[in-house]
């Protein structure tokens, strides 16, 4: 379109920019106010020096890595198998992977608490390790829609059938085929799902709070109720993490197009 910019579109964009940038500027400015009368990074120093911050952030970091690994282990063989052997099951499997977007997370965790309580057949919430396992599987469920789509997109770019048959004729086992042929080929596509999973898990609140695990999300809420400037510093850190993950996703998608083009 070669028309000159219209007035209304300028007004819309300027108002939109005000709405979207003011809270970002606001939280940054607020996070610098910890020392009276002068801007400083004290709030950040307080946060980063807080042992609770390190413990909860570390916990969520490990949780998100476990979730990513679990997601890859569960989703990759399934998406591969559905493409290769059970194409008629595709709609059903896809429907299941979309369910976590339909059922609110608070309902899912409510179900966990009732189903896996101490007096149930599988008392996962009875021990710390069991609760951690439950939390990791819960996060895997939350990330399922994104992970499945990422892996499936990756599989679309390779010829699954030919690769599998070639490997089979060379005597490869299913384990070898998935681990050494399929996974490396979809890894770049998996990355975009992995970064999104990371962004979701690192600040997640509801599951961690209701399962009573010391994660970063509940820590942030606790800070919000007890400190003035530190929460803003935490918000800045969280926003930086979200930006980082989205940037890495763009990078991964770019890389994917690049390798596909070179094929």
């Amino acid at each position: 379109m070669i028309r000159s910019p219209k007035l209304w579109s300028w007004i819309a964009v300027i108002l939109g920019a005000l709405y979207f940038f003011l809270p970002l500027i606001g939280m940054f400015e607020f996070s610098l106010r910890a020392r009276r009368g002068v801007y400083s990074f004290d709030a950040y120093a307080n946060v980063l020096g807080d042992p609770q911050f390190r413990a909860t952030f570390g916990f969520s970091l490990v949780m998100s890595l476990v979730t990513i690994v679990l997601g890859i282990l569960i989703v990759t063989p399934t998406a591969f198998w559905v493409r290769l052997r059970l194409p008629h099951l595709r709609p059903a499997i896809e429907f299941i992977t979309l369910l976590p977007l339909v059922i609110p997370p608070i309902v899912i965790v409510f179900g966990y608490i009732r189903l896996y309580n101490t007096s149930s057949w599988l008392p996962l919430t009875g021990s710390i390790m069991g609760t951690n396992v439950l939390l990791a599987f819960g996060y895997t469920v939350l990330s399922l829609p994104y992970m499945y789509r990422a892996v499936d997109t990756g599989l679309r770019t390779i010829d699954v059938r030919t690769l599998t048959e070639a490997a089979q004729s060379l005597g490869a086992s299913w384990f070898t085929i998935i681990g050494q042929i399929i996974l490396p080929n979809v890894l770049v596509a998996v990355l975009s799902g992995a970064f999104l999973t990371f962004a979701i898990v690192i600040g997640e609140y509801v599951l961690a709070a209701l399962l009573n695990r010391p994660a970063f999300g509940p820590y942030m809420v606790w800070m919000g109720g007890n400190k003035a400037y530190e929460p803003a510093a935490l918000a800045v850190i969280a926003f930086a993490i979200t930006w980082g993950c989205m940037g890495l996703i763009q990078l991964a998608t770019g890389l994917q197009k690049h390798t596909r083009g070179a094929r």
């Binding site: 910019p5 219209k6 209304w8 579109s9 300028w10 964009v13 939109g16 709405y19 979207f20 003011l22 809270p23 500027i25 606001g26 939280m27 400015e29 569960i74 989703v75 399934t78 198998w81 559905v82 059970l86 099951l89 499997i93 299941i96 369910l99 977007l101 339909v102 059922i103 609110p104 608070i106 309902v107 899912i108 965790v109 409510f110 179900g111 009732r114 599987f137 819960g138 895997t140 469920v141 979701i200 600040g203 997640e204 609140y205 509801v206 209701l210 999300g217 942030m220 809420v221 919000g224 803003a232 935490l234 918000a235 969280a238 926003f239 979200t242 930006w243 993950c245 989205m246 996703i249």
Partner: protein, 295 residues
Amino acid sequence: MTESTTTGGPIRRGRSEAWNWVGVAPFLLFALLFLILPTMQIVIGSFRNPAGDFTLANIAGLFSPQVMKPFWLSIRISLLTAFLGCLIGLILAAAVTRGGLPRAFRDGTLTFSGVASNFAGVPLAFAFIATLGRLGLVTVLLRDWFGINLAAAGFNLISFAGLAITYLYFQIPLMILIITPALDGLKPEWREAAQSLGASGNQYWRMVALPVLWPSLLGTFALLFANAFGAVATAMALTGSSLSIVPIILFAQIRGDVLGDPHLGYAIAFGMIVLTGIANLIYIVLRTRAERWLK
């Protein structure tokens, strides 16, 4: 899901068919244990009394005033932010795709929307407290520069309006992300055809563009509704528990049975599934309809 309904080729039956199912067994087991059974537990529980017998009393309890009020509040906030999210998102998307602005605006808006739609939850609440809260940047600047006292003017961030303004921060970008491809699908030929028939810009939007976009708009509206309805962390961090929307009531109920009836908690969760389920169903149906025009 039943195995007997599979329509696999008649050649690969018997042992081979069974072997095929082994490949997806881990996934199905995972989905069963951590997604389907927990949800079933809630759904079944909402039709049972504490003794385990079938009852409709819990569902009837949903219509008692103490439960209707939070549901109505949640529905209103979800409808309002979905509507405003759609409207403002459409205007912004139209401005950057059709407004004749430099291309960089479009790319920048889309990238930012990708980030902002994922910047929900606790940090988002903190950002708004730091901006529009009692000592927030905008509150202070309005007071010092323009002499406008937001609190005296009746504005309070910890309120229905405050929560709506905060929700829009992830609602509008989601709308932009979904509606931009639909706007790109509006072919220039349609506009030219309309113009050559003597239509004004206004008439083109009203009689050509909007009818084509209608399924996308309505579908996204449903998606935004579900998006706002299920949000817990943002509201929790912003308002504590002073604003009784459904997820916050459910949260308190799970923690400590504030309603004094565990099975009413099941019914509330079931009510949430029904509402977000219907909204998502509308979204999926309308999206398939909308995609017809984008080919």
